[in-house]
Symmetry: C2
Subunit: 340 residues, 2 copies
Amino acid sequence: MSLDDRKLEVLRAIVGDFVSTEEPVGSKALADRHQLGVSPATIRNDMAVLEEEGYITQPHTSAGRVPTDKGYRLFVDRLSTVKPLSTAEKRAIAQFLDGAADLDDVVNRTVRLLAQLTRQVAVVQYPSLSRSTVRHLELVPVGVTRMLIVLITDTGRVEQRMVEFPTEFDDEVVTGLRSAVNGALAGRALSDAAGHIDELLGQIGPLLRPPMNTLSTVLLEMLVERPEERIVLAGTANLTRSALDFPGTIRPVLEALEEQMVLLRLFGEVESPSTLRVRIGGENPVENLRTTSVVSVGYGTGTSALAGLGVLGPTRMDYPGTISAVRAVARYVGDLLAGS
Amino acid sequence: MSLDDRKLEVLRAIVGDFVSTEEPVGSKALADRHQLGVSPATIRNDMAVLEEEGYITQPHTSAGRVPTDKGYRLFVDRLSTVKPLSTAEKRAIAQFLDGAADLDDVVNRTVRLLAQLTRQVAVVQYPSLSRSTVRHLELVPVGVTRMLIVLITDTGRVEQRMVEFPTEFDDEVVTGLRSAVNGALAGRALSDAAGHIDELLGQIGPLLRPPMNTLSTVLLEMLVERPEERIVLAGTANLTRSALDFPGTIRPVLEALEEQMVLLRLFGEVESPSTLRVRIGGENPVENLRTTSVVSVGYGTGTSALAGLGVLGPTRMDYPGTISAVRAVARYVGDLLAGS
DNA sequence: CTTGGCACTCGATTCCAGTGAGTGCCAGGT
DNA sequence: ACCTGGCACTCACTGGAATCGAGTGCCAAG
């Protein structure tokens, strides 16, 4: 049995009203506030059906209805219309992000902007190392047995790592190693670089063999095994806006947000930019976040996503507005990184 | 009029009980739980005096007493006895911090450890740039007009900055610049380095003059004008442990914690290691944090502090335990950084 | 100066009735 | 077949009264 148009319209109205009023919505109020062209009694019948199908529910017998996760899902998939950003918002994005000096700056501004725009908790992942390409590898001798490896990616991200060598090396060795690793790895995607590290050993002279052995081990860790992802967030204070939203306390949510791994699972698993993903309540893989919704999207410079960003808030959130904001910010940041 | 010993003992008991029970403590309960050797009536008289002097207060007429900020202050200054860490805690510190790979790792582990140990919000500042010394400056050409400056400090912190040159440069120029800046700056404190940047221009050949001009401007920014301080925190979920502690909501606290500037004011203003500072409630310079106490201490490798760390929690906190933990962690981290 | 006694205060808890938003169901109208 | 008005019913919420009890301040006696 499918839902006819009016029932869908009723659901849309319920979601809309509940999001703005934060209170269960009844048939009378619905009839008043929307031009549905039917009487409260009719709406009641529709609501009974919607409830039977699991789209809405009532907190207690004599109260209005509240959308369920399933209801929000239907709303997001079929009922929500895109809410274009206001010009003020667009201007805010541009103003906020332009003039960012370096990558850190871009990411920090972005996350704060997103939190402010959506009034939710915002999350931004640094451009993923494994999806970036190597622009340059620099070897900096520090003393005679230690060396700092500096990895610069095309997105401007810089990672470093100290290496201790078992034996001393001189400048010549450093120079040799430097040109060797750059020759083999520069321009390659980090995910691709792993396979080419082995080649390094084969192609170089015997003198460089032992130090390159040490170096390649570390490089392998740096590029592949430890693609340490950084994630920043802002706007946690927004969680307290409506305490009603979170059954017990916001505690489990705060706990989950402190787990890098959790955030990565939510925001790091992106394939291509512009595929936006909405996880609603129980759809969420993380136990502590079953009362929240997550809107995430990939951002990147071209057709492949570099990393994810998005927001997290109560299931009762303004999905159209949030989705627009997240998408717009992602696009803007992508362009910004592509242009640098 | 001064407070005699028994009154101080009563105050100590009140603080102790209130911290552990989270409820206003009355004269009867005090007499029962502590061996004060006097009757509740006597305690009541003492409490009346303590209240008159502003050390305790009662939330409402028919309730027990609660320490005021002033009461906590007296407690911390004169009444609290050092609570040595349990061996389990000491072992936890060692286990948690040993095996940290690099500076990022140390800082991240430290902040989480501190949050776990004190069950409060923990804050750790990265070793301050302005208080570190330059170990090495590396110039990495990226293309023919761009260069990445990498600054490595003695504490293992690495800062980088991209520079765009108006004209092209070749390898020879890069080598020249590199040895010049390292010669002039390596080994110097960053705060001290500023004055020596000018010298650079005078001492080098005319060929290097123009690029060095560009470079020195950026170096100046990097070393002095933008001593960007990084601060990380953990354990914000601990704020929700007892909702009673925060009058309205924890909102203002969360807001304050998101402000880098605020955190810097609280944890960044340290002189020497081992001078621990406790700010109680209203003593706090930040409006939003008037309901919290901050325990901060400097940590460093030698006699001068590199940066600050500490915790923030409700004024009703276990001061002796918190102070011990903060001090112990600071010392451990200092040693760790000194040894690397 | 301490102590037991005592009257008093006042927040917290419980109980109860009244209110009203909201519902489900049904019979009649289009 | 569907919509509508009517109606009885449910039940959270509100506010006031009664009660409880932890805790106080004061006082007179030791």
